[in-house]
Symmetry: C2
Subunit: 253 residues, 2 copies
């Protein structure tokens, strides 16, 4: 199956602390769990730095967890999502482990992969808008809560309809926390607090009108504070609209 | 919010093994996790039998688990789904616990609630078609596998598009079983086996044409066998189409 989706590619030149510059380039494909028969999400990264395999593997692991593992189009895992990082050494610059150069290289790789991961969500099947949910609270709780919000069809359709529907966010949080923690939650949408200790705040008409404009933006940010401490995570997710239905209901493998 | 959905009501007259007859009636509302502010799924059952509270509570618990707990419109829990069972004794017939009468009463209650639960799915938000997934295998595994299939937006859109897409079923099973069991799965759709030991069978053209007709039915049955023994469950689920998007993206609370 071929799709006609946008090209997701980026490159960076990095001036290393030790002096020389190296280049990083990356390309990715993927817009949903298209079919188990095909490679779904693929990302290829190239650099002209020389870097030993162990260090590169470590950096790839950390940066993949901060990028492609933080996005969701439809919550459906694929069998074969892959990120390949290739270093050919053509720049005649070696990145030594545990040096400022390694840190600078890692930060550049991080920036590159996060950008492609975000582009992947923005280009998700039928996507018109990207949500970003940030969750702070108990270490064990932040991940299931962020996933529950990002994967809720009710939250995703509200994002599609540009509806500042905090009730649906709280419902998803409650579903993830059921039986696990007291339900004490703060919620801000685009920086404006709408829920404090699980109680909806009385929002002035002007502020609500501003909120309605804000949730029609290309990217909408939801910040949640839940019980517990020490945990923080984020998930980027696409909205759920007619385009998703068209793509997924109207083709046969 | 008022909705204009179908009425879900049913009644039964039960001739008890001990001789007299009693009546059971039930009414339900609900079509999705509409809003945490409102009661979402409500079911009221009345009987003119007399039955002690403890026995009725026990029977209600068993039959609710076999009916309303086996359906999914959008996988989203509500805060206040409720089933009320009221016995007024007007028939002057008492159901004694641990008698054939209790068994007959329980079977009638079971039939009534399953019918309403099924009608609820068929009348789900935007629903045009009902899927029934039956999973047999390990006791701990059948429930997460059935839920993963029933709640997958890819399976639900395939059901909407009447696409006999067994790849999406297997993907959902694989996601639920990741790290938990070997991936050895049999799958039949509407009684026709399409996958054996995780391998797609070579289906004759005539059989495939028949399968394509079958998956366009009002109710489509998927039977899965997964590793392990002793467990069996089923979940009824609605499809995911433009109607769901319209209902959920285009209203504001």
């Amino acid at each position: 199956m071929t799709t006609d989706r946008g090209i997701k590619a980026a490159c960076l030149e990095v001036a290393l602390p030790s002096g020389p510059s190296i280049r990083l380039a990356a390309q990715a494909k993927g817009a949903g769990m298209i079919s188990p028969k095909f490679a779904t999400m693929l990302c290829f990264v190239q650099t002209d730095a020389a870097i030993d395999a162990e260090t590169l593997d470590l950096l790839a692991g950390v940066t993949v967890r901060r990028s492609f593992e933080r996005v969701s189009v439809d919550g459906q895992l694929s069998t074969n999502d892959s990120v390949f990082v290739l270093a050919n050494g053509a720049a005649n610059v070696t990145i030594e482990p545990e040096t400022p150069d390694e840190l600078a290289f890692g930060e550049a790789l991080d920036a590159l992969l996060r950008q492609l991961a975000l582009e992947m969500v923005a280009d998700g099947e039928g996507a018109e808008r990207v949500g970003r949910v940030i969750v702070r609270g108990g270490v064990e709780l932040v991940e299931p809560v962020a996933r529950a919000v990002a994967d809720s069809p009710l939250v995703k359709t509200a994002l599609h309809g540009a509806d500042p529907n905090y009730g649906r966010i709280l419902q998803a949080v409650g579903q993830a926390l059921a039986g696990r923690a007291p339900f004490v939650v703060d919620l801000s949408i685009q920086g404006q607090q709408v829920v404090s200790a699980s109680v909806a705040l009385d929002i002035e008409d002007d502020d609500f009108a501003e909120l309605e404009r804000e949730v029609a933006a290309d990217e909408v940010e939801f910040e949640l504070t839940i019980p517990g401490e020490g945990g923080e995570t984020e998930v980027f997710f696409s909205d759920f609209g007619h385009g998703y239905i068209e793509i997924n209901a109207e083709y046969t493998t």
